[in-house]
């Protein structure tokens, strides 16, 4: 065994190394800081994940009590996209349980014991998991700009956005939680928190209902346009299409089918065959 390997095994068998070998509850990382997995990179930290109960609670709030995603997000301090993802994943889990499919419980238990976690307890004061109103830094705003304005001018965020570009939207317009900003404004204007919170919940609920209705309508429209013929083996579905939708060269994405004679490109050399999205 080489000297270097000897040293490695010495470290692995020693106090430091053996700490990583056996699980002793709680996360354990290499770095000098407690949540730092890489010793050289203090700019990357292992951030907490939602714990099992919190994820269950989110699912219950959305699916059981019918609260809107944005309301749950604002209340629990979890990003809206994450709330939606948690519900989606939980739904799959529940389906597995209904089907009697075996879950990866030992794996999940081990992994969750190794990760830092955020807990949310109902009716208690909780720290938020992550910022709920995070704004991407727009490319146009990454340049330094000198805009001379008069001292008396009230130069707001909207004006700043306009200075960067004519069509640039301000932070308020790009916020994923505009209703929440509105609510806070109302509170500053003198309304009680309870009152404006109720209004906020109503607004988000209404918005969500609207989306749900639109989806339902679309489905209905689709159904109306299709004629179903059921035989003993298959269900045939017929739809009206317009042959002209394929465009002049017969390759338009909007059209149905393929114009006779137009060559397929999907097996040509040099063209990427890896799908770019999965519906």
């Amino acid at each position: 065994m080489s000297r270097a390997r000897q040293q490695m095994y010495q470290w692995l068998k020693g106090r430091d190394g053996s700490e990583f070998a056996d699980l002793k509850g709680g996360p354990r990382y290499l770095g000098p800081l407690q949540d730092q997995p890489f010793p050289l990179n203090p700019l990357f930290r292992s951030q907490p994940v939602l714990d099992e109960h919190t994820r269950e609670l989110i699912w219950d709030k959305v699916m059981g009590r019918g609260e809107s995603l944005k309301a749950v997000s604002a209340e629990m301090g979890v990003d809206v996209r994450r709330v939606a993802a948690v519900v989606r994943l939980k739904e799959v889990e529940k389906q597995w349980q209904r089907e009697g499919k075996k879950l990866a419980t030992p794996y999940a238990k081990a992994v969750m014991s190794m990760l830092p976690k955020t807990y949310y307890r109902e009716g208690e004061k909780n720290l938020p998991h992550e910022p709920v109103n995070e704004i991407h830094v727009h490319k146009l705003t990454m340049q330094q700009l000198f805009v001379p304005v008069s001292e008396s001018r009230h130069f707001t965020r909207e004006d700043a956005a306009k200075a960067f570009h004519d069509t640039m939207l301000s932070v308020d317009a790009r916020s994923p939680q505009p209703e929440l900003i509105k609510m806070e404004r109302e509170i500053l204007d003198g309304k009680t928190r309870q009152e404006s919170l109720a209004k906020f919940k109503e607004a988000t609920q209404k918005e969500e209902d609207k989306v749900a209705r639109r989806i339902a309508q679309e489905q209905q429209r689709e159904e109306k346009a299709t004629t179903k013929v059921t035989t003993d083996r298959y269900e045939f579905r017929f739809k009206e299409i317009n042959a002209d939708d394929v465009g002049r060269n017969g390759r338009s994405r909007k059209g149905t089918g393929w114009r006779y004679g137009a060559p397929f490109d999907d097996r040509k050399r040099g063209l990427v065959k890896i799908p770019t999205s999965v519906p």
């Binding site: 080489s2 270097a4 490695m8 692995l12 430091d16 990583f20 056996d22 699980l23 996360p27 290499l30 770095g31 000098p32 800081l33 997995p37 890489f38 010793p39 050289l40 990179n41 203090p42 700019l43 990357f44 930290r45 951030q47 301090g77 990003d79 994450r82 993802a85 994943l89 799959v92 889990e93 597995w96 879950l103 990866a104 419980t105 030992p106 794996y107 081990a110 992994v111 969750m112 190794m114 990760l115 938020p128 910022p131 709920v132 109103n133 995070e134 704004i135 991407h136 130069f155 707001t156 965020r157 932070v171 916020s175 929440l180 900003i181 609510m183 404004r185 890896i274 770019t276 999965v278």
Partner: protein, 524 residues
């Protein structure tokens, strides 16, 4: 790309996306640090070295050409804009009074943020190196957005990398193999391209067995040899004990006949257990054993079965030793045999326990009726019958009809007992019984065992345990939302940099990443 020779090296160490212990050791001894400046390396040399270092970690399995095409100089970042701040200020406070060089307010969005800050608590295990360039440089980083650490962000979009980051595989190469082998689905559809670029909102799901295999302790060659030997020995022992019992009890031709029957059916040893186990109706028809002998046999079997269980039950179910786990497993095999299930059958734990409970209860009822017989020799049968009826009525209301029928059948076995036999039976009344509490505990224990069973057919060591050095690498970046129960995750958004923090997991310092970024900018 082919795996390079000496992938994990100690002499020329390179950091890899892997949970390997060599990699852990290399991480620990800060392999990727910027070297002390010796001589005057040119800017090009520094960039080259940095690029080589980082590329051995980030997408080492991807050809350079492909990565260069993926590289983007547009690095993403995000800022927290708390709604409270946006409501209270319209941004004009940032511009006020600056003309004279005067700072009139210190209101920023950050002061409104309620999100918990990163930990600054140090584990003072090691004394810091003197004149550590990395550390000195990193002091100011908390106040800036570390864009340079986002250089390899496009790679985090790849499916194989995401599978690795979600802790479903122990290295990127393994994750890639999972994808190629068809164990990964994206939005419910099988995806066999590891270079598929995930879109925000995509859900990917990895086959549970693969994940357990990838993240679990590896299986040793003859890991379960001992268990198999034990199982076989146990079965033989059980058969022998039973045959002895039959011989002893019967002592006549009929018993031997039964034993012979068992021998002829030697290939299916559960058959004679079944014969002895107390199918009263059947044996009465055959006339091979008296009911009392039946009962005795049953008692012996139960005693044998529950011999070790009581010991296991005394301990905390969460801290079972490997030996106890094995005993539990043996008990399960025995119980299955006792209840005349085929051994290979995947009987549900709840079912098993219910049946066992039923058996024990009927055993208990028999004991009670023996006592009754003893007390009032006059109207034995009626009383016993009544008692049984009462017990049945109270305890078994919800039970299915066949179960009740079976119990009655067992009960009927007692009817034709003489006084002598009764006294004998009373002697037999065993201690092979478990209280209700113990029974419940046993059920729970078996259920816990069912969660993580000893199973030879699996490609990983069972019961499943995480790999030895997994905890040092266990982190899930925020751009993923993972549900480990079903081994599925959602790619929420692209990774971003924030103030003092970048979401791309990279083991290299800011300086190294900066040099790398400059290399790929291709500006001289």
């Amino acid at each position: 790309m082919r795996k390079p020779y000496r992938f994990y090296s100690l002499a020329r160490p390179k950091l890899r996306q892997s949970w390997n212990k060599y990699n852990l050791y290399n991480l620990y001894r800060q392999t990727g640090r910027e070297p002390q400046i010796r001589g005057t390396p040119t800017f090009f040399q520094q960039k080259w070295a940095a690029k080589a270092k980082t590329r051995s970690y980030h997408g080492e399995h991807i050809p350079e050409k492909k990565w260069v095409r993926l590289f983007s100089r547009r690095l993403l970042s995000a800022v927290d804009m708390p709604p409270e701040y946006l409501a209270a200020h319209d941004g004009s406070e940032q511009a006020a009074g600056r003309g004279s060089g005067l700072t009139t307010s210190n209101v920023t969005a950050e002061t409104f943020s309620k999100v918990p800050a990163l930990s600054t608590q140090e584990r003072s295990r090691r004394r810091p190196l003197f004149g550590d360039v990395n550390k000195l440089l990193s002091d100011q980083f908390n106040n800036m957005t570390p864009y340079m650490q986002m250089t390899f962000a496009p790679l985090e979009r790849r499916l194989d990398t995401a599978v690795f980051r979600a802790l479903f595989a122990s290295s990127v190469r393994q994750a890639r193999q999972f994808v190629i082998h068809g164990a990964v689905t994206v939005n419910g559809k099988k995806m066999v391209h590891p270079s598929y670029q995930l879109n925000p909102g995509d859900m990917f799901q990895v086959d549970i067995e693969k994940v357990m295999y990838g993240t679990g302790v590896q299986k040793a060659a003859d890991a379960h040899k001992r268990l198999h030997e034990n199982l076989e020995a146990r079965q033989k022992k059980a058969d022998k004990a039973l045959q002895n019992a039959v011989k002893k009890l019967g002592g006549n031709a009929t018993a031997e006949q039964a034993a012979a029957e068992g021998e002829t059916e030697g290939e299916k040893p559960e058959a004679d257990v079944e014969a002895a186990e107390g199918e009263a109706a059947a044996s009465e028809d055959a006339g091979s054993l008296t009911p009392e002998a039946q009962w005795k046999l049953n008692n012996r079997a139960l005693k044998f079965l529950l011999k070790d269980v009581k010991k296991i039950l005394k301990n905390n179910p969460k801290e079972l030793s490997a030996k106890e786990k094995k005993q539990l497993r043996l008990f399960r095999a025995d119980a299955k045999r006792f209840l005349s299930h085929p051994e290979k059958s995947e009987a549900d734990v709840v079912e098993l326990i219910d049946e066992l409970q039923l058996q024990m209860k009927s055993h208990e009822l028999m004991r009670e009726s023996f006592e009754k017989l003893d007390l009032k020799e006059g109207q034995v049968e009626n009383a016993a019958e009544a008692e049984v009826e009462a017990v049945e009525a109270t305890s078994q209301e919800g039970e299915a009809q066949p179960a009740v029928n079976r119990e009655r059948e067992v009960e009927k076995g007692l009817e034709g007992l003489s006084d002598e036999q009764k006294t004998k039976a009373k002697k037999i009344i065993g201690d092979a019984k478990l209280s209700k509490e113990e029974m419940r505990k046993l059920a729970r224990l078996l259920q816990m065992d069912e969660e993580n069973p000893v199973d030879d057919s699996k490609p990983y060591a069972t019961p499943w345990r995480p790999r030895p050095y997994m905890s040092a690498f266990a982190f899930i970046p925020r751009y993923l939302e993972v549900n480990p129960n079903i081994c599925a995750a959602v790619y929420l958004r692209h990774p971003v940099a924030r103030k003092g923090m970048a979401e791309v997991p990279t083991p290299f310092s800011y300086l190294t990443s900066q040099l790398t970024h400059n290399w790929y900018l291709e500006r001289g």
